[in-house]
Symmetry: C2
Subunit: 261 residues, 2 copies
């Protein structure tokens, strides 16, 4: 089995701007960059010293064509790729099934589970890569590309990846929303937001040590009705924040008690 | 001004079991332990080589009487303390105002903002201590006790501390609930929960670098309706989890868009 040496990148956005330089640094060749936005495409091509691909409808000399495009354009863009290519055509999305890529291509998924910021470097070694393909050979080929960057490789089906993506929304987007709420409450009370940083770090670190359900504390899990009442008085009646407080408090209470709150 | 050298502990629970040994280690004297539960009281007294206080209605030879009791018993227990004591009488609660302690005592608050687990050691240096008292001298005295343990001292009013406590519920209890949901989704999909640990750590670390609102990513903040639809299909109609997903998705969407979802 020949390994993957040449990677073509389709879509010069945030994910590509993180992945392409990392591939290059690990000794892989960026076979070319394709993108609709000429400026962004040129910028990324220069950054990784790769040629610009003018037409993905023609044969591309690469072992892997990596689609770093938005979820809803994966199908449309993959359909433009020349079916005679020998390369694996893999997308990088958590939410989109393998089947979004037309079945006349050698389909794969290469999903790095991380929240990419434009301006922050990624420590790849800790990033879980989720791999899917249509046969073991292709899984192994995609897996060995991922192994150049990270030690955390997971082989997941499209169904599993869909659940994982939803779980990541809870763990990242929704947890971050809770941090937003807390910062707004502190700002209103004229308290520096850094006061909560040790607790936030401790909350995350505990999850690494034991299941989150075993770490739960606070008024709702204790059933401390007086404190809950005092909290609600701080939140405007009819506001989203009060509704969210009530719903999450009820949920934690229900998980820890049998009587009604 | 004489500093605090002798500390009496009322209530031999989790907070006392963390604080008392830390005080002793930093050169303070534990003047005595009082508690209703004889076994727990004896155990903590032995641990810190302190006498047991039999009656808090009599004079206690201490500079600080620290109430490490549950929120709703602070008022009742403080009312039993002999009013002729010279000691500051401080509680350790985030949610209870200074005024819960009778005004014939020298009242104070000494609130360590941390989630205490029975079996996990605290790194005190990072724990914010929130101090309140009726005059600057007492604030300074309580502050210098806190400074023996930590470099993070905050002087907050009862109103501020109430807001802080609510903010901590969002940042700790509610964020942890989000982690619980994500672990349950992973378990259902037969994926090891450790797959999300790097993302959870990254989520927390980002909050230390910039405001949470600047870190938000994901389908709701992008307005990615297709992915939201796919997520909802994974959640049972009418379930709490679906209701929470909808409410939090709507909130993130509203913060990032002007049109209706």
């Amino acid at each position: 089995m020949n390994g993957i040496k040449r990677i073509a990148i389709v879509g010069p956005g945030r994910v590509a701007n993180h992945l392409a330089p990392a591939f290059k640094e690990k000794g892989l060749t960026i076979a070319g960059i394709y993108g609709r936005d000429a400026d962004e495409t040129t910028r990324l091509a220069k950054k990784v010293e790769a040629p610009i691909i003018q037409d993905i409808g023609k044969r591309i000399n690469a072992d892997l064509i990596l689609l770093c495009v938005s979820d809803d354009s994966i199908g449309e863009i993959a359909a433009q790729i020349f079916p005679g290519n020998k390369a694996i055509v893999a997308h990088t999305s958590g939410a989109v099934p393998l089947s979004a890529i037309p079945d006349n291509l050698r389909r794969g998924v290469f999903y790095p589970l991380q929240s990419f910021s434009a301006d922050k470097n990624i420590v790849w070694d800790n990033v879980p890569f989720c791999i899917e393909a249509e046969n073991d050979d292709d899984v192994n080929m995609l897996g060995s590309v991922a192994e150049r960057l990270s030690s955390k490789i997971y082989i997941l089906s499209s169904e599993q990846r869909k659940s994982l993506h939803l779980a990541a929304v809870f763990a990242n987007n929704f947890a971050n929303l809770m941090f937003e709420f807390s910062e707004e409450l502190l700002e209103k009370a004229d308290i520096n937001r850094s006061i909560l940083h040790p607790l936030i770090l401790e909350t995350a670190n505990k999850v690494l040590m034991q299941k989150a359900s075993e770490s739960q504390t606070g008024p709702a899990s204790r059933g401390d009705v007086e404190t809950i009442k005092a909290h609600r008085e701080l939140l405007d009646e009819g506001s989203n924040l009060r509704e969210i407080y009530d719903l999450l408090t009820q949920e934690i209470y229900d998980r820890n008690h049998h009587e009604k709150l």
